[in-house]
């Protein structure tokens, strides 16, 4: 479900609570038809997905987005010498509607050019946090209106992809600071960018060091362990957690390899195929973000991060909201 506005079909307990065994039905009733009804409704309403890419310039963020969604979402900018590097961090948002098999997805990509590019990068995460909180605020205001819209437009950031430069050593202080602050507000998926400069062994070593760093600093990246609902989820997410951060390579040019047309980067010593699991883990990232966990990303944003923001925000207003309501009849 996109937003709270749609009828909240998920309800409290699992179907068969241990206390009351489910009622026995003597024949088919047709309850499972509700799944089809849900699907039809979902197809009609369409979906929204907001993704933010953060990382230093030159790490291939725009190319990655284009590769992920197989379309020219961003015109990947070759930095020309006349354009100066921006002095402050600005956020650029661009929205597109992409359609696949009758399903419309409104995709909003937010880029952060200038992140980590200054000499003094102190507090460079503030504009990013500010933007994220601003989206939450907008949604909150809409939700608090008396006459609400049927469908509140959801501009909240569902996923933040953080590009780690492929130094091969470990996370830099800037990375750690940023990740620490953001993992509590939004779902963060770190990736090793431009992984074609690392060999497989270097990749594994880098990855394990990053994982250690994350653990030492108690940074919970997506998929978060605390939101695993049942044993299946924890097994599945456990496997994913072992491989975070994915080492990815982005490319939007096609080349001919063995007679097939594949996306890849052509170098003098070979062609790096983006969609080849032996070459890079782009496929894993795409599956995680789009094919299997998109809805989960949105749900966690809505049920956890947004609620946290709401609690803080409403408490700031000296708890006026809840107290007044509880006191009046």
């Amino acid at each position: 479900m996109d937003t709270l506005r749609q009828s909240p079909s998920p309800c409290s307990s699992r179907p068969s609570s241990p206390r009351t065994p489910p009622f026995e039905m003597f024949g088919p009733v047709g309850i499972e038809a509700v799944l089809d009804q849900l699907k039809i409704k979902a197809m009609k309403t369409g979906f929204e997905f907001n993704i933010m890419v953060v990382g230093q310039s030159g790490l291939g963020k725009s190319t990655m987005v284009n590769t992920l969604f197989k379309s020219k979402v961003w015109k990947s900018a070759m930095p020309s010498l006349e354009v100066p590097t921006p002095q402050t961090l600005e956020l650029h948002s661009v929205s597109h509607v992409i359609e696949e098999k009758g399903l419309k997805l409104k995709l909003t990509v937010t880029d952060t050019p200038g992140f980590g590019d200054q000499i003094n990068n102190d507090k460079c995460w503030d504009p990013v946090l500010g933007y994220i909180n601003q989206q939450y605020e907008q949604y909150l205001q809409e939700e608090l209106l008396i006459t609400r819209q049927r469908h509140i437009p959801d501009t909240r950031v569902h996923c933040c992809v953080y590009f780690v430069p492929p130094t091969g050593h470990c996370l830099r202080p800037l990375d750690i600071e940023f990740l620490r602050r953001l993992c509590r507000t939004v779902n963060v998926v770190p990736v090793i960018a431009r992984a074609d400069s690392l060999t497989i062994e270097e990749r594994e070593a880098f990855r394990s060091r990053i994982q250690q760093n994350l653990k030492t600093h108690c940074i919970e990246v997506y998929p978060q362990k605390c939101f695993d609902e049942d044993i299946n989820d924890s097994i599945l997410n456990g496997k994913i957690r072992e491989q975070i951060p994915f080492a990815v390579v982005g490319a939007d040019q096609e080349h001919l390899v063995n007679g097939r047309c594949v996306l890849g980067r052509k170098t003098k010593w070979g062609i790096i195929e983006v969609e080849n699991i032996a070459h890079c883990e782009f496929l894993l990232l795409r599956d995680l973000l789009i094919r299997s966990h998109l809805q989960d990303l949105k749900d966690i944003t809505h049920n956890v991060h947004y609620e946290n923001y709401r609690v803080i925000r409403l408490n700031e207003g000296s708890g006026a909201v809840a107290q007044v309501v509880e006191r009046s009849p």
Binding site: D2, R5, Q6, S7, P8, S9, P10, C11, S12, S13, R14, P15, P22, F23, M25, F26, G27, V29, G30, I31, E32, V34, Q37, L38, K39, I40, A42, M43, K44, T45, G46, F49, F69, S71, S95, H96, V97, I98, E99, E100, K104, L105, I146, R150, H151, E229, R291, S292, L294, Q295, D296, D299, N303, R310, L314, G317, S318, A320, V321, V324
Partner: protein, 434 residues
Amino acid sequence: MAAADIARQVGEGCRTVPLAGHVGFDSLPDQLVNKSVSQGFCFNILCVGETGLGKSTLMDTLFNTKFEGEPATHTQPGVQLRSNTYDLQESNVGLKLTIVSTVGFGDQINKEDSYKPIVEFIDAQFEAYLQEELKIRRVLHTYHDSRIHACLYFIAPTGHSLKSLDLVTMKKLDSKVNIIPIIAKSDAISKSELTKFKIKITSELVSNGVQIYQFPTDDESVAEINGTMNAHLPFAVIGSTEELKIGNKMMKARQYPWGTVQVENEAHCDFVKLREMLIRVNMEDLREQTHTRHYELYRRCKLEEMGFKDTDPDSKPFSLQETYEAKRNEFLGELQKKEEEMRQMFVQRVKEKEAELKEAEKELHEKFDRLKKLHQDEKKKLEDKKKSLDDEVNAFKQRKTAAELLQTQGSQAGGSQTLKRDKEKKNNLWLCTE
């Protein structure tokens, strides 16, 4: 709807970008469905109808199971609502079904207030949801939604028209819940009477402005079937949990001496249509209508009643929070004023009581003094008397001693004389008598 929204945004400058390959987000509906399945669904039905119209039996027949509960008597003093929740499971879909039934509806002599408990119940569910939604720390995604999604209104099969109780109740409920009117125990009406009855009912509903639930016809996949079903409203249903052997199959039916009525035979009654519409086709739409229309209406009315507006007189958007703060301060101010008043009144009363008590104390003191004086006077009098008495006693004693003294002297001298005299007397006496 949001498809229109997205289309509008496309027009607004959000361009549609062509895809160069298969991205894979067409699995989104499946992801959504999987999540919903793991969390389970909720559905709440309210059955309103007079006692004995077969509400519980119909629920048993609809869901192919035996729900517990004994039939109600006709002697209920007022209308009450009985609510039961059941967990049903079909393949991998779990449904938390709540069935609320009116007990004692239409049994009273004075039925003016019969609709009130029902309206209050529905409002109470909305209120509970609103309270949860307005909390600071809320858990909406695991909240057990108890709002009524569908109201089945059971019409008695008189064959003529709607009763005025029905009209009044339906009119009160139509803005709060999705009403689906059904003709109960319709095996009591013949086919021709049934068509006339249905026409009469629909025309009465329309002329009284009652808005019953119309099955949605905006989605192509269900528009056709919903459209035809809309024409069959109100459904004439029969409920039965007994299975009889008809032909070579076991079917739910009711047996009469003149024939057998099959529940699932579309020629006999509209039960199959009801089941299709209620569960298989429109369950999700019913829930959505409840949430987006009826609940929003309730929420808007409630918040406006509490005095919140979206825009102030200058038509600048009001923040709900500012209004809340203003109200809260106002409320606190009033509270403080009242507190002051009460405190002053209390102080005054205390003073009065104190004065009273002082008065009483003074009086008591005076009384005490008076009595003491009296007592002293009496004592003095008594002492005087005692003294005089003592004097008299002394005087008497003196005289007594003096007299005694005289006596003893006289008796010694004339003692013998008296003796002689006595003897003489005696002798005289003897002589006389001789």
